[in-house]
């Protein structure tokens, strides 16, 4: 498998049209159904190779695109999500500088 190829598990004759938001491997318990006690085992089962991480990011990106950005009639939600996300991101990376603007010495 090289860059730009379909996932190894994807079989056009069985799966039909390729969905970039879909995981074609063996499905595990959805994250929402995982009990807290099973969380460690669930995380241990995840593949952690760079390609798997990138694949997960790509699927997340396309899921977001399909759900919020690409529908026919889009509201303000995806743009607000982008704004909030970038606010949080820049807040975190600039936190070292923002820290100096605190008004109180003791909390």
């Amino acid at each position: 498998m090289t860059i730009g190829d379909y996932p190894k598990e994807y079989d056009p004759s069985a799966h039909g049209q390729y969905d970039p938001a879909r995981y074609y491997g063996k499905p595990d318990t959805p994250f929402g159904d995982v009990k807290l006690s099973e969380l460690a085992a669930w995380l241990a089962r995840r593949k952690k190779t760079p390609s798997a991480v990138l694949g997960a990011c790509s699927r997340a990106w396309w899921r977001w695109q399909h759900k919020y950005m690409q529908p026919r009639k889009v509201g303000a939600a995806p743009f607000l999500q982008l704004i909030v996300g970038s606010i949080a991101f820049f807040y975190v990376i600039n936190y070292g500088k923002i820290k100096h603007h605190r008004n109180y010495k003791y909390h």
Binding site: A14, Q70, A77, H101, N103
Partner: protein
């Protein structure tokens, strides 16, 4: 046969090789391509997913409802914000108040002008989509028309068959007519010849008869001499006398 057609297909395929930079296509076996795909084609959603507070997905709220109730996530957010402000993790510097202004502005713009902007943009989306649909339907119409024309042509071809059959029948009739005409000609010719022979025979026999009669008459006339006439006359008288004596 043309020279390039005589090369077997396998030979051509074996000569074509992929270069290293060209990825080899994953070709599927043809038998598996015949069965229908398990998933339907991807469908574009009509609207974005539902969000609360403008950006938080509805599903996150629904996910925590069983544990926290309906107001739980809001309480959690208020508590987290309270904790953040209290510990100054969220620092209220100048950017924070700028952010508040932005929130108010965005709120006002999205609620007041949002629907109208949305309407205009939706119209543009519709126009864009209709353009694509129009070209698609137009092309479809062309193909449908082509199919119709093809069917008509097929019907006309069937008509040609009928016409051909009619022509064949016509020719058969003409042949029949010619045959009968020739039969008639033969009949008439034979009849004419036979009539000729009949007439010839009749004419010959008539002439022969005429000559025969003339000859016989001439012979008879020649045979009647004056002595014979006298003998005959004498015989007449004798006979008359005999007759008279009897009466």
């Amino acid at each position: 046969m043309l020279p390039y057609l005589s090369i077997p297909k396998e030979n051509i395929l074996s000569r074509i090789t992929h270069t290293n930079t060209c990825p080899v296509a994953k070709t599927q076996p043809k038998s598996s391509a015949a069965k229908p795909p398990a998933t339907p084609a991807l469908v574009r959603q009509e609207r974005s997913g539902k969000c609360r507070l403008g950006f938080l997905p509805e599903e996150w709220f629904l996910f925590v409802h069983p544990f926290t109730g309906v107001s739980g996530p809001y309480i959690l957010m208020i508590a987290l914000a309270n904790y953040g402000f209290s510990k100054e993790i969220i620092v209220c510097e100048h950017e924070y108040y700028g952010g508040l202004t932005w929130i108010v502005l965005i709120y006002l713009v999205t609620t007041r002008a949002g629907p109208k902007i949305g309407e205009i943009l939706d119209q543009k989306v519709d126009a864009h989509e209709n353009e694509f649909k129009k070209s698609r339907t137009e092309e479809e119409a062309i193909y449908l028309k082509t199919i119709e024309n093809e069917k008509e042509a097929q019907m006309q071809a069937q008509g040609q068959e009928l016409l051909m059959q009619a022509k064949k029948e016509n020719i058969a009739m003409q042949l029949e007519a010619a045959y009968r005409e020739r039969l008639m000609t033969v009949y008439n010719t034979v009849k004419g010849r036979m009539d000729y022979h009949v007439k010839l025979y009749a004419a010959e026999s008539r002439i022969q008869q005429k000559y025969m009669i003339d000859w016989i008459l001439d012979e008879v006339k020649e045979a009647i001499t004056p002595e014979f006439q006298e003998q005959v006359m004498e015989r007449y008288i004798q006979d008359l006398g005999a007759l008279a004596s009897k009466a």
